[in-house]
């Protein structure tokens, strides 16, 4: 418990790590560290951002410019963007992705917050075993269930539908969601719930009226990570869909590349890729702290 609190408040505490005077080596070597640090920082920034910049660059080129490896598009054009938004396959895939991701995320948060509360606060037998089972799902290779789900969905009429993707996505998203939410619920002081219980509230009321509102940042974090996960899902999306009625964006992009094997329209595909990446990058910029908190939830245990 103590370590977790330390981690969350880490940002405030880090100010202490301001370079201390003298820092072991003599004044003649004091410039070494900043130079090394800034070189590393510049390299990291180039490593992380340049490939995405290159993708944007390609998406702004058309025709013969595509084959020239210019770092700036010589004749920048939005043709590629225009053509993907005129492509019904892409806009439909976009709609499918948004719908499937939203519904899965909401369901995962509702189911996940119940389960997480039970795991974080209630006392019942076999808790360790149950947590182990839930976490073991995160290690499942989706390929292992692809064939049976494909056969089942064909029989049940769920093949190539939104529901057919939402259900398995929910299964794979839930463990992550439960794990993150449980680690947030644990940080809410127990005294608040105890006071409510003494005043005659039930455990469920305490959960709904006290824990849930206080865990709002945790819900945002878990929701974001679930949404990223579902938006990214690919194997089930190509195995369980056959047309634009449920095909999601990743599957649609792969379908573009697969269908024209001989002349891959990389300009158009790059434009589509940029379009679906911009919202994600925007979310990262806005919610950086929340996302980092979620990714590292429970990873650090003294």
């Amino acid at each position: 418990m103590a370590t977790r609190t330390l981690e969350r408040t880490g940002t405030a505490g880090e100010a202490r790590r301001e370079p201390r005077a003298g820092e072991a080596h003599g004044p003649e070597r004091r410039w070494v560290k900043p130079v090394l640090l800034w070189t590393a920082v510049v390299l990291i920034v180039i490593f992380c951002l340049f490939p995405f910049y290159w993708l944007i660059n390609v998406s702004l080129k058309a025709g013969p410019d595509l084959s020239g490896a210019d770092l700036l598009p010589p004749n920048p054009t939005l043709d590629n963007y225009q053509s993907i938004f005129e492509d019904a396959d892409f806009t439909k895939a976009l709609r499918n992705s948004v719908g499937i991701t939203t519904i899965t995320t909401v369901l995962a948060l509702v189911f996940g917050s119940f389960a997480a509360y039970a795991l974080a606060r209630l006392r019942f037998p076999l808790k360790f075993l149950l947590l182990g089972v839930i976490l073991s799902i995160t290690t499942f290779p989706p390929i292992a269930i692809a064939a049976p789900i494909f056969k089942l969905w064909t029989e049940l009429g769920l093949y190539n539908t939104w529901a057919g993707l939402i259900i398995p996505n929910l299964t794979f998203a839930l463990p992550l969601c439960i794990y993150i939410l449980a680690s947030f619920f644990r940080e809410i002081p127990k005294e608040l719930e105890e006071a409510a219980l003494v005043d005659g509230a039930t455990h469920f009321q305490a959960f709904r009226k006290i824990v849930l509102p206080l865990a709002a940042p945790g819900l945002v974090t878990a929701g974001l990570l679930t949404a990223f996960f579902v938006w990214n899902e690919f194997l089930l999306a190509i195995t369980l869909t056959s047309s634009t009625s449920a095909r999601t964006v990743p599957a649609a992009i792969a379908f573009f590349t697969g269908s024209q094997k001989f002349e891959v329209p990389l300009g158009t595909i790059s434009a589509a890729s940029v379009v679906i990446t911009i919202p994600l990058v925007a979310l990262v910029i806005i919610f950086q702290k929340r996302i980092v908190a979620g990714l590292t939830a429970g990873a650090v245990k003294g």
Binding site: A69, P141, P250, A254, S273, T277, A299, V300
Partner: protein, 312 residues
Amino acid sequence: MEAATARLKSRPAERGGYGRSERRLAAAMLAPSLIVIAAVAAYPIGYAFWLSLTEYSVRVPDRWRFVGFDNYTDALSSPEFWDALTTTFIFSGISVALELVIGLGMALCMHEAFKGRALLRTVVLVPWAILTVVTAITWRTIFEPGLGLAPVLLDKLGLPGADVVWLGQEPYALGVMILADVWKTAPFMALLILAGLQVIPDELYDAAKVDGASAWQRFWRVTLPLLKPAILVALIFRTLDALRIFDLPYVLTQGANGTTTLSLIAQQELTANRLIGLGSALSILTFVIVMVVAFIYIRAVGGNIRALAEET
């Protein structure tokens, strides 16, 4: 707070009084998640195992027969399976090792106090946020012959590799795949390690310094040993992910030129060749391999999960 919990636990009326209703509520709250997990993970795994013991006719729909473990013998005696297994392990080993080294470097940088540190953390999250499929497209636009940046750049800098058809030649295609994976996931590793760095108390460094330890010794003797739990958790997550890799080879090369992984070969047998029995056997083999690796790792750090369960 610790005192309050202890007081609560020592009150006997509490334990007996809430026991049953609490247990019932726990069951009710866990039920929705457990039902979904059981229906879509546990049951299909059993069904997949059953399918792996059968052979479905490619021509006549719904005609099948029981073949026992024939699909497994077929799979285990096919060079394709062993190639995919080797590729998967080479890919996982190299990319996770590179991710660890690069991630550690990134984490150490992000831990330093300097202006723009928050910005660096955001920048590092960009590759993490990009879809795996888009990652594959991005690296294709860099390495695609006649379009890509890499051949031109290598040529201009006079480096070897300008003549290589990167995605079209045996070891190089896997190299691009590893590079793409490292790019996308090293940031994740970095953030987990950074969280580990942040819980190391400064006093330990100060004490080591007083004892005359150099910066290098402090890193090897203080930082690394204390980072071990965080690194192990990051390694588990990444290794299990890498063993299941599917999207990258699918979009980069469609599995050509030595990039077919276990998940990809199973999926190809299932969908392209419509061999449900063999495909299921390959899927189950993939599942078992991932589980064995997971088990080995979890034996090493099982205490962490137990601590989480028992913390309440």
